[in-house]
Symmetry: C2
Subunit: 365 residues, 2 copies
Amino acid sequence: MLGVEFPICAFSHCRDVVAAVTNAGGLGVLGAVAHSPERLQSELAWIEEQTGGKPFGVDLLLPPKYVGAERGGIDAKQARELLPEEHRAFVDDLLARYGVAPSADPPRALGGLNISPKGYEPLLEVTFAHNIRLFASALGPPPADVVERAHDKGAVVAALAGTTEHARRHAAAGVDLIVAQGTEAGGHTGEVATMVLVPEVVDAVAPVPVLAAGGIARGRQVAAALALGAEGVWCGSVWLTTEEAETVPVVKEKFLAASSSDTVRSRSMTGKPARMLRTAWTDEWERPENPDPLGMPLQTALITEPQVRINQAATHPGSAARELATYFVGQVVGSLDRVRPTRAVVLDMVEEFIDTVGRLQGLVD
Amino acid sequence: MLGVEFPICAFSHCRDVVAAVTNAGGLGVLGAVAHSPERLQSELAWIEEQTGGKPFGVDLLLPPKYVGAERGGIDAKQARELLPEEHRAFVDDLLARYGVAPSADPPRALGGLNISPKGYEPLLEVTFAHNIRLFASALGPPPADVVERAHDKGAVVAALAGTTEHARRHAAAGVDLIVAQGTEAGGHTGEVATMVLVPEVVDAVAPVPVLAAGGIARGRQVAAALALGAEGVWCGSVWLTTEEAETVPVVKEKFLAASSSDTVRSRSMTGKPARMLRTAWTDEWERPENPDPLGMPLQTALITEPQVRINQAATHPGSAARELATYFVGQVVGSLDRVRPTRAVVLDMVEEFIDTVGRLQGLVD
């Protein structure tokens, strides 16, 4: 169905990771919700050039519920106007307390807002002008016209589901491939664990094939996912500490040092629950005396520029801003303990998978 | 090591389930923390009689931290004296609002308090007077003298771990078998999912063998657990809807109807986070305006008698008390949809496990 050697899909915001996974025999999927159409255009052209006809994909967010949905979405300027004074003041104070200097520049272009038809339509146009093998919706069932356009272009349509109910809805919307994602995953995630969710979804949407996501970073976990009934896996976190990843250095360091207990589901980055490293940033947003995160996409509008400033300040040794630095990552962060080439990660996964199946076979013989 | 045909350990408070699993070729483990010594004595004698020399075990809670630890534990009377008026009033009001009649009888003997040396010593004496194959600590590393006594009696010592750090501590305490239990499990549980926790613990405590717990109710999940590196599985929730289970009828009905999204980790039953069915009971304890649960064992002292009264009231059709009824259960509750004999559950697990390994082998060949 996907034309791959190994049933390993790699979600990444980094074109180098996408190309490296595709070239290693898996399928790289570019997370493009924060891209401008121009940037997406140039990155897809680059990936095509690097992978020479091998399959790759694009991932967007198509949430049914967000602030401004009733008017087809809001742009960055409208979003900024809707930010409550209390929230701006809290973020300003938070940054000051952790030694992040006030912004000298005018506000930057805001990323991560392309979640409404107004926002994602230009990205879809760019996407479908390229020869993509897979189009994925990471939030919400893809609308009928999007499914149709993907199919016209010969692309497989995938959608992520954190509950069996969502998976059923995706299947009914004509999705070709369900990604059943457990709570242990990084980024937007539900509450049901992969071990429970995958067999439930497999049975609920059969004969639609299912990929397992959440908690998968090595071959034993790939074997477990396939044992649960998945046809393949969808991994994100494991690529964040590869040589190719553009992960902010202080965050990469934290990932390499973190244990599997160091993540938290928090609304502090996008307004919807997403798993990320637990740091002073997530702790501050959880304190009862501080304001609750805003809805999507207002929270992103509120925190995108502060996040850039935190990561800049954190490059100075000894800066308190290092305590704030965080990023989306799943519980497998506990097993990420060295920087490796993406290709080596893929090939080690495959090798350990094959060894694991051999070991299981030995138990039954 | 355990002398079993299948590496399936079954945790249950119900002696009939324990005996049925052992007789089906697994290993039944009786959860005895709420038992009186007299009751434990008679139940172990009954299990021995039913299983004719086949292996079974006993499980207690040996938490290092609890209210009254500094004086070696508190008894039921002392616990009742420590209950804050605010908490008593909240529970009285809660029960009244849901149509549970005030208690006519004097307070019952309180269960679930045997978590201190004072409380569990008489249970250990009874336990080690029987020919048990496995002694398990579900909370906390077993003290050195307990490990020694178990070993003197030829019993394997197991301990449950929700983090890799806890697993290392158990191994250092001389535990023979680590049960790595993911967040999806019912009862006392941590935050890391089985998919992530098991391979981490396996690598951290090698060569100590590991059982996987959390999210395991069928053969595909057993195969996944073994793929992750576990030597076997430890299951609890799946037995709660068997023919043999003494689950309260209204709760059994709710379990059969529930989805995998219908559980929550809550401190409302024991004072420590435990996964259970989300009902009006757990919702009420989560409201910010209501008091926080007390520590262990005070929360148990507070709610044991009210729980009995709720379950009695819930037997009347149409009673609002039905909304409150809950019990410990893991996310696999979503797959429990009919009442079956315990033996059939075990044999189906084994059959699906063998089929799954064959399917995986086919993928590699």
